[in-house]
Symmetry: C2
């Protein structure tokens, strides 16, 4: 079958070809401040290493293994690893950091390298590590890297099968075998491009490792000790059948029977075929030639991953002979070793005295023309990745690996990598509040998922648009929407909170203060209440909406037209409205879980502070540049808008957007203090007299609600609650958590963690 | 203070004057088929007579007392009593009915009349009834009637106080005392108009009752034995101070000290002042001169209640001397007795030899001119009531009480009233599905409230527009919206049901059949699926709306434009849509409570059956005349519309509204079978193979939902569920209950009662 031709003739296949399931795994050693391998146990905060789906240990107790689930895109897989690194970072023992280089840091004597501990584990994990220690030595097993897992979408394989008149299972096998053969043939190119382990520390005793059957190499041109013959490799070239999965599996079993492998995981080839458990069907392929890149905060750049993805597609399209003979396999093995040691300066075995650089450039060109033929237009990101690597081949000296070598030479292997390790952490910290695999989700949900990752809770996004997730651990399952809509609250309590009139009635019956007022279902009756409310400060709001929509505050209430306008605005949002006394004092958001106040926040209305030079418009633009400010609940703070409400509010102060406030003067742009309309968040959890928390608890109790965001007006937070000095103005059934986790000022109150605990995921 | 003048000058007061709190109480004797007083105990189905807030027993075990809470309008109070009568009717022992006349049916010997039983009650109920038996005789205590309770709105009293520069408490006392004095003075008029007890059965032994201190009266001109001196009255005129509440209360206490009354309830005056518990503040006034009217299904017409309300307002406005001296009181007492016995033919004590009829007409005229002066325009209903009573005074012979007398004379006292009792029951049954006090609520909520009434559960309408109620009994409280949104369901389960994609995923994971299909968040991707679905019968629907909105069924799916139109229609309702295989078979609604199937309904799409003469338009108009069909969920069935979807569906069958179907031919007007779009409901609870109920239970279990309306397509209801012969297409978190309680065909499945039980109100 001609796969390239089939794809060329079908635009739908061309689109599906780019989709797939993308997974990433990475290993990292923990080191102390001096660059010595850590001897501490796996951090307790990272949960059980046996059951944890994302974070575990590899060979050594000090060697973390981070695993992303299969994701819909490269960015997501990459972002998942970024967030796993962030989670690990936050749980590292004091003074420890992550080693950013594939080649290990300062190692102790081989036998002192701690094996991963699995106390009481009976499934052979301990025995396997003891076997590896004997065969490879513990030092070599600490060499670390990243793996890229990939599979095509089932839909792609099904449609391609249809297009080529092939059975799906037959086609699937053919597709993956072709890709793997081409990858195996050209892996030298990938090693040459992705190699970032040209130097090792003396404590690895490289010379001892290179004795025996291993080739005694690595010199100044080298790019990857890890991918060289003395790196993380089997003692000899292991040959298998690449013409059928059946043959491949049979050969693997044969190698195990011969005692050359203990199990399939020990096949240290740079490309592996993975099959489904208990079967021969291919589940995915695994690319293992990615060295840790000390320049990248995640250890691997998106460029590299995109290039690998491109190369997979190229490998699918490129014509080849079906065979991949033992001779060819040995040649490919040797070429990998050569390029690992000499880079693209290695001699091309097909044309003596010619550096392999020439063939590398040829392949890159062929890749482009192959894609163009199909036709598969490259996106900007893929094009950039391709150019990036093309330049690295053309101008060897400026290739990243040579930068790396020079930096190591200049600063020293340990000092340089310690510095890079710290730089990675600093970079990771910058936007640690995000879950980088799920940037489209609301921030509250990102935080909850991040906490779930830490605790090793499995999760699924049941409806990504709705932020509707399922959390699973063992037999326990919980459904959560938007982080705070859970099974903890009975539906009727939600409805009672949704209806401000009902909320108020229930609170009042329990003697809890709420603003006095009236409700109206009829706009004319509401207007007719003018005489009653005239001259009193009032809040006019819809019965049951959120986010401050339709709310007006009339402090003077001396203008009947403004009163009627406010009524009309509220009626736009709901069929019923409330007119309430405006309570003086500041508003605080109490977050309650299980009747207990776990965080209190004060929100300041959107504001800017003058400097005597910039206009309000300019000050807002400046404030909005803060990376913590975004749009649509994906950042802890929202950008300040300059729309009708803001302009109206400025106008009421005799200001406009071009006014220039005095230095130090705070100008508010809104009356309401919602974060969603650009307000600032300030943690007050420990600053408010405890009596108010008691009232908030009683209110949650009265509504029979487990999770709520309660808004209370308090006149003086230092004085105990008493008659007339406080009032509950609203209870929200879907309060954001991110504002308490990443406030403008103050402490992270870990509501993500607290919600998981409340849900019973300890 | 001049109240009339104050009101005349203030339009807002004029509006508020007509508002108030209206309550109604009525007593009814239970009788057997022969008209003898029932000797059975109070029906068990009516709950505890001690705690029941609405239905209890009065003096005798066979004497029901029905009590409405204070309502916002006369119609509501009247409707509440109508529904209480319906509830009682449905619980009566076989053969029993309610006696429609104030004067009792065939009584046994006095001592054989059963007292109300309160086994083990220690609060004096038994002793009080024994005391009443001694003083009045049991027979007299069985005389029954209705009471009308009324109070002005606090807002009215407050504004009137403001307008007249009076303290609210002072004004309130003055208002009620003035009204009561005027009512007491003119009560003869009300007795004359509302008297409906001109005749008694011989078993009452009227002559014996009239012995002793009582006047020996009642003759052929009489209108109310009940309100006469030998009726339900104290042995002597009891005089009290009507110039202050303090004096009134003191006099009552004095009467009790003298042994003339056992407690204030024994003051059998036609107008009573009621004060708040433990205080002297007036809570309301009670008008007690209303005889049961055998012509009215509720025992009292809305005309009568409106007239009483008018007379209260007249009594407030009418000028008078503040005093109501003991002499005046005795005269008013006597005049009541005279009119009760002689009707308006009684001699006017103020102008000898003139029938009091003349004064009556004068008062009615004065009432009108008084209202006109204020000015208080009468609504049509009040005007009709006034005219009705004016005619009754003018043309005595045609007055209702004289009709009554003639009918009794013709058919006999017992036979006539048995017939009327049956007629009342027939009338009540006609729209027994409604809760007549709450016709603005959804029918499901009306039914739930009716069941709550039966069980003696207190309730409040927290938000009437939202059908949001609170049920209370002892310490237990439950919040319910729209009858089926309760505390039983966790919020996350509601959200899972709201999202059809999530529902399907959860069901499938449990091996429960759902239609195959795809979901789309992007309209272009949905359109691009044309090739995939072309030629397959599909349903295209929004992810999460109800009531069949946005759903299209394409059985051929051979027209891409129609496919795209259906996609656009679905996207109008939601941001995500589903395209699913259209399942063949019939659709059944399974209603589950606590994982158990409690009702199954088949819904037929809106349809008409031809008669060979009428057009489809005419057939629909005819079918829509059924009183069970209405609009907006206040009837068990909805009217069939003739809008775009119906016309489109007819067009697809080659028909239009003017087509005349053959006799017996069923023409469907819609594809979807929702009751909300005019469908028919048919109970199938006992007709479907039990295996399907098992699947429905498993589905509810999987979603962790207690109350759900599950829609399943079944190919053959007689065969057990198996692969490919059924499919769950939706689970609704807010299913209507009225369709199962009052189906087009079949049994009432009492879901109202079952929900109350599930909520823990046994």
């Amino acid at each position: 079958m001609d796969i390239a031709k089939a794809i060329a003739g079908n635009p739908r296949l061309q689109k599906l070809l780019w989709k797939g399931h993308f997974g990433l795994e990475t290993e990292r050693l923990r080191v102390d401040e001096t660059g010595r391998l850590a001897h501490t146990p796996h951090p307790e905060g990272l949960g059980s290493k046996v059951d944890h789906p994302f974070i575990t240990t590899d060979f050594s107790e000090s060697q973390l293994e981070l695993i992303s689930p299969p994701m819909d895109s490269l960015q997501e897989a990459h972002g998942f690893i970024q967030t796993l690194l962030n989670v690990v970072r936050s749980e590292l023992p004091a003074g420890e950091r992550l080693w950013p280089q594939s080649m290990p840091p300062i190692l102790p004597e081989d036998h002192q390298i701690p094996l991963a501990r699995f106390d009481g584990d009976a499934s052979g994990r301990i025995e396997y590590r003891e076997y590896l220690s004997r065969v490879y030595g513990r030092s070599r097993q600490t060499i670390s890297g990243s793996h890229f897992n990939f599979s095509f979408r089932a839909e792609f394989l099904e449609q391609l099968a249809g297009e080529t008149d092939t059975k799906v299972e037959t086609l699937k096998e053919a597709v993956y075998l072709k890709v793997v053969r081409n990858l195996m043939r050209h892996r030298w190119l990938l090693v040459g491009l992705l190699g970032r382990s040209p130097v090792a520390h003396e404590s690895l005793h490289l010379k001892e490792l290179s004795s025996g059957t291993l080739l005694p190499v690595c010199c100044e041109h080298g790019v990857s000790i890890r991918c060289s013959a003395i790196g993380y490799r089997n003692p000899e070239s292991l040959l298998t059948d690449y013409s059928s999965i059946e043959g491949y599996s049979a050969d693997l079993n044969h190698l195990i029977e011969q005692g050359k492998l203990l199990n399939p995981n020990e096949l240290y080839l740079p490309v592996r075929i993975k099959t489904v458990p208990d079967g021969d069907a291919v589940s995915h392929i695994e690319l293992r030639m990615i060295d840790l890149d000390p320049q990248e905060k995640t250890g691997v750049s998106l460029h590299s991953l995109r290039f690998l993805h491109l190369f997979i597609i190229y490998s699918l399209l490129k014509e080849e002979s079906n065979g991949f003979s033992p001779d060819e396999q040995v040649q490919a093995d040797n070429l990998q070793n050569e390029v690992a040691c000499w880079g693209f300066a290695a001699e091309d075995p097909q044309s003596p005295s010619t550096p392999i650089q020439k063939r590398a450039l040829h392949i890159l060109k062929e890749l482009q023309s192959q894609l163009a033929k199909v036709p598969l237009p490259l996106t900007k990101e893929y094009l950039t990745a391709l150019q990036h690597f093309q330049e690295a081949v053309e101008h060897g000296e400026s290739a990243p690996v040579n930068h790396l070598k020079r930096a190591i030479a200049e600063k020293g292997f340990i000092a340089y990598h310690l510095e890079r390790g710290q730089a990675q952490i600093d970079k990771l910290e910058q936007d640690a509040f995000k879950f980088h695999a799920y940037l489209d989700l609301e921030l509250s949900t990102q935080l909850l998922l991040k906490a779930a990752v830490r605790r090793g809770i499995h999760f699924e996004l049941l409806d990504r648009k709705q932020n509707f997730i399922r959390l699973t651990r063992d037999a326990k399952q919980e459904y959560v929407m938007q982080a705070t809509k859970t099974s903890l609250d009975p539906y009727s309590s939600i409805l009672a909170m949704e209806n401000k009139k009902v909320t108020k009635q229930i609170l009042r019956e329990k003697g809890i203060a709420t603003p006095t007022g009236l409700d109206f279902a009829d706009i004319d009756e509401a207007r007719a209440s003018w005489e009653r409310f005239r001259g009193q400060a009032v809040v006019i709001k819809p019965l049951s909406t959120n986010f401050g929509l339709g709310i007006s505050i009339l402090k003077e209430n001396s203008d009947e037209a403004a009163f009627e306008q406010a009524i009309a605005t509220a009626f736009k949002e709901d069929q019923q409205i409330l007119i309430e006394a405006y309570e003086t004092g500041n508003e605080y958001r109490f977050f309650l879980i299980d009747d207990q106040v776990v965080a209190i926040l004060r929100r300041l209305p959107a504001n800017v502070i003058g400097d005597g030079r910039l206009s309000i418009r300019e000050l807002v633009a400046l404030k909005n540049k803060d990376p913590l400010r975004g749009k649509g609940y994906v950042t802890p703070l929202e950008r300040i808008e300059l729309k009708e409400p803001e302009q109206r509010y400025l106008q009421a102060q005799g200001l406009d957007l071009e006014s220039v406030p005095d230095a130090g003067k705070t100008i508010f742009l809104r009356e309401n203090s919602n974060i969603s309309t650009g307000g600032d968040s300030i943690d007050y959890t420990d600053r408010i007299h405890s009596s108010y928390a008691g009232i908030a608890s009683a209110a949650a109790n009265a509504l029979r609600v487990k999770i709520t965001g309660l808004d209370m007006i308090i006149q003086d937070i230092d004085r105990p609650a008493g008659a007339g000095n406080h009032s509950i103005i609203e209870m929200n059934f879907n309060p954001a958590i991110h504002i308490h986790c990443h406030p403008h000022h103050g402490e992270n109150r870990r509501l993500d963690e607290r919600i998981l605990s409340a849900l019973g995921f300890m």
